[in-house]
């Protein structure tokens, strides 16, 4: 075990963990931030998506030892008062069914829109293709992202 210094949502955390521990489990089991979800453990479903600096990454496949001093943002830290344009759009379109994948969808979309604020429909689809929604809310996710683009 080693001790790691992490910056999560603007707060410093000291975590003692094995070097191979995925950040997903550090967030959930060590720090107690439960918004980041476990879906597959092999970066195939996107439920665990967080931001490392400005990039969307699959936290289930990101070992703690590889984070360094890069700041982490999770769904809990995406916005001050749940007021990110995507969160507003998710409300407006009442996107979720079961809701389990949605934090990952929002985090993935947020990083994508930061790099591409005015995407085409095809660009949205290909950016979001790595995030599974088992309930099939894809059309609403797409509509909500399009609305967030318009409103931001």
């Amino acid at each position: 075990m080693a001790i790691y210094q992490l910056n999560v949502n603007g707060k410093e955390h000291q975590v003692e963990a094995d070097a191979d521990t995925p950040i997903l489990w550090v967030l959930r089991d060590h720090i107690g931030l439960l918004g980041t979800k476990y879906g597959c453990g092999i970066a195939q479903c996107g439920a665990c998506t967080i931001h490392l600096e400005d990039s969307a990454v699959r936290s289930c496949s990101l070992p703690i030892s590889s984070v360094g001093d890069k700041p982490i943002t999770t769904i809990e830290g995406l916005s001050e008062k749940a007021s990110h344009p995507l969160q507003n759009a998710w409300r407006e379109y009442d996107v979720p069914q079961c809701g389990y994948c949605q934090a990952g969808q929002i985090m993935n979309a947020a990083a994508f829109l930061k790099n591409n604020p005015n995407p085409s429909n095809g660009e949205i689809e290909s950016a979001m293709n790595g995030n599974l929604c088992r309930c099939g809310t894809y059309n609403r996710i797409k509509a909500a992202i399009q609305a967030a683009v318009k409103n931001s």
Partner: protein, 713 residues
């Protein structure tokens, strides 16, 4: 208004506690509240007292109302739509409603199950009565206070007004109302006066979902809790002989290794340590039962399809004779693989079993049945076992089975610690309760340009009845026979969203499309003619309503411009009645780079009154996308008892790029509502296959389509 007796599950309406008990609640979870706008949250003043009017609701002295959501929430949105029904009859403004998930409580609530698309249909009457009973007690209390007759009082948005113009809020009169007897009769609203039902109400958990609040089973945390990851037999048919846990115990964070039955649980301080510990176990397995492979199921199901039975499930006329004298016989076989459920939240459950009690918390569709089995397993009385429900990251039938809750209870009981059992994705996919593999053989006899006989034989793995013998076209064909054969297997199988019909409808609707094409008839007209036959001179009993069936067909034909597609667009039709709801769908396929692509599905639904349109549309769209995904890509092969897919790198689910546009239309209706969790799924595979045929001339007889249609491969 409708006057109805309250004897139906009357226990629910008895006051849950006396005034002295007060129903005084502190620290309730505002996150389950229904006011989605952040700034309004700040204005919320918690009531200083709550008054229970019945088990479903309590009213705070400020007028805020807490409504219990009785049924498990798996994404079908009952946590929002069931309380809407109560709030409607109570006549309160939705902004004053807070929703809480009810724990399992069979004394107060009936049928706390998520399954069969039945929550709304079976809850409708009791939910209305819960609201109406409370409203009536509030009105009576106010009338007593004013010395007027209850008939001289009206209610609106939680305020009672009398004919003198005086008014009082529910919050102000709740104390007096809670002391009254529960009325013998209640008046229900006329649906034309509904103010909440039929409007778009946001998911009550939307704030929690979009901000990452701990709503789900895997988010349960308790002091001293250990995470348990379980090693289970790798093949169906195997049992545990022995295991070595030395390396597992050396993994940092692992606190214990416990054998229970043919499984080994690794307990640890973190999920990751428990997963690593499990990987470090080495086990020897012995084969006690046959190790089955997909090729074996294939051969055995084929044999069963060739077996005539003397005991058909339904029989009219003589199919044998009519097929023998027919001008033409069309015979087709349709085949479906096993399917895992793949809820995005893997199976999990929390249990804390002590000498006194067993406390369980988690995602399960059948809490009552699960409690019974936990009590039996632990040798406890049911009253000493509690089950609290969390929001569920999907159900699809998998969470009916509760095996994960039993595992948690057993491990906690052995470890004498609070434990959360966590399935890895691989555990979830390979230790499943699968949609059974099945095959159907159809024969249609054609005489003088008409289908005069219809024969269906189904064969499925662990399927007592692989058919729905009274469904269409039963009653519409003179000579009709349906049979079913079962293939026993040691692979665990069970309900998967729209059990049986999730594949049977594809087979039937593909076959009818082919019969219509053979007859040179329009596929919709062909079915409408059959429905007319069933209505005007039926052959035997009908298991469906002809007018409702025709209603959705006509609506979808109009909305989809059936028969008039845009250039380059190919249409396919399908219709199916399941779970008390009528659905018809038109799929539109285009050719892209030489391969068919589903561009759009238009769907018409008759589910009676639509409680919450935006959520109903979401559910209906999801069922269609789910149905297309599994018809196109879902495949699950066994070799020697071992599942050959274990995670999303080797099991394909539909993704955003493959999801078509979906347009939903509801038949306007004042009939009592029926469910929507399942009914849009069964017909869509057939609609897509029929559209692909229109586009390519190729028929599909086997799922998944990608493996069995060369233009898709």
């Amino acid at each position: 208004m409708t006057l109805i007796k309250t004897q139906y599950n009357r226990r629910s309406f008895l006051k849950a506690s006396t005034l002295a008990g007060g129903g005084f609640v502190l620290g309730f979870n505002w996150l389950a509240g229904c006011t989605p706008v952040a700034e309004e949250v700040a204005e919320f003043v918690p009531p200083s007292a709550w008054f229970d009017l019945n088990a479903y609701l309590k009213i705070g002295d400020t007028g805020v109302v807490t409504i219990m959501a009785p049924n498990p929430e798996i994404g079908q949105n009952v946590k929002t739509s069931m309380p809407m029904i109560i709030a409607e009859e109570l006549d309160v403004a939705w902004r004053d409603v807070i929703v809480e998930q009810a724990p399992l409580n069979t004394e107060s609530f009936s049928r706390q199950v998520a399954g069969g698309s039945q929550s709304i249909r079976q809850g409708w009457q009791s939910l209305r009565m819960a609201g109406a009973t409370a409203r009536q007690m509030l009105v009576l209390a106010a009338a007593n206070l004013w010395g007027v007759a209850p008939e001289d009082c009206t209610t609106s948005d939680g305020v009672i007004t009398n004919n003198r113009g005086e008014s009082i809020t529910y919050g102000e009169i709740a104390l007096a109302a809670s002391a009254l007897e529960v009325p013998e009769e209640v008046k229900l609203k006329n649906p034309s006066n509904f103010k909440i039902i039929g409007t778009n109400i946001s998911n009550v958990d939307i704030e929690g979902i979009i901000t990452g609040k701990p709503l789900f089973g895997l988010d349960v945390r308790r002091e001293g809790m250990k995470f348990a990851v379980v090693l289970r037999p790798p093949a169906f048919g195997q049992k545990l002989e022995s295991f070595v846990d030395t390396a597992a115990r050396e993994v940092k964070g692992v606190t214990d290794v416990i054998r229970f039955g043919d499984k080994v649980a690794v307990l640890a301080n973190s999920t990751w340590a428990a997963m690593k510990g499990k990987k470090a176990l080495s086990a020897k397995w012995i084969t006690e039962n046959p190790l089955e492979s997909t090729t074996y199921h294939d051969e055995e199901l084929n044999k069963l399809l060739d077996k005539w039975t003397e005991l058909p499930l339904r029989k009219e006329g003589s199919v044998r004779y009519d097929l023998a004298i027919a001008d033409q016989v069309i015979e087709r076989v349709y085949e479906a693989p096993f399917l895992p459920h793949n809820c995005l939240e893997p199976m999990n459950f929390f249990a804390d079993v002590t000498d006194e009690k067993a406390e369980l918390i988690g995602p399960v569709q059948t809490p009552e049945w699960t409690r019974k089995r936990v009590a039996t397993l632990l040798g406890r009385e049911e009253k000493d076992v509690t089950i609290d429900l969390t929001r569920m990251g999907g159900g699809f039938g998998r969470r009916l089975y509760g095996d994960f809750a039993l595992e948690a209870a057993e491990i906690s009981s052995l470890a004498k610690l609070p434990v959360m059992v966590v399935f890895s994705r691989e555990d979830d996919m390979t230790a499943g309760t699968y949609r059974p593999a099945s095959k159907y053989k159809f024969k249609a006899g054609i005489k003088a340009g008409k289908m005069t006989s219809y024969y269906l034989v189904g064969a499925g793995v662990n399927m007592d009845n692989s058919t729905r013998e009274n469904n269409f076209p039963a009653g519409a064909v003179e000579n009709y026979q349906v049979e079913s054969h079962n293939l026993e297997s040691n692979i665990t199988t069970g309900a998967w969203r729209a059990p049986v019909t999730n594949f049977l409808a594809f087979a039937e609707q593909s076959f009818l499309d082919e019969v219509a094409a053979t007859l040179g008839q329009d596929p919709i007209q062909f079915r409408l003619d059959l429905f007319d036959q069933a209505k005007n001179s039926p052959f035997g009993e009908l298991g469906y309503d002809v007018e409702k069936s025709k209603g959705v067909i006509k609506l979808v034909a109009e909305k989809a411009y059936w028969g008039k597609p845009k250039p380059g667009v190919y249409q396919g039709f399908s219709t199916y009645y399941s779970h008390n709801t009528y659905v018809a769908e038109v799929a539109e396929v285009i050719m892209e780079n030489g391969a068919p692509k589903v561009q759009k599905v238009v769907c018409a639904i008759d589910c009676g009154i639509v409680i919450n349109p935006q959520a109903a549309i979401n559910q209906a769209q999801g069922g269609i996308i789910d149905g297309i995904g599994h018809a196109m890509y879902g495949d699950f092969v066994f070799e020697n008892g071992v599942p050959q897919s274990s995670n999303f790198n080797n099991y394909r689910l539909i993704r955003m790029q493959e999801a078509p546009e979906v347009e939903i239309h509801f038949v306007q209706s004042n009939n009592d509502p029926t469910g929507l969790g399942e009914p849009t799924l069964p017909p869509v595979g057939g609609a897509v296959a029929n559209a692909i045929h229109a586009a390519t001339g190729e028929r599909i007889y086997k799922q998944p389509f990608v493996k069995n249609l060369k233009v898709l491969g």
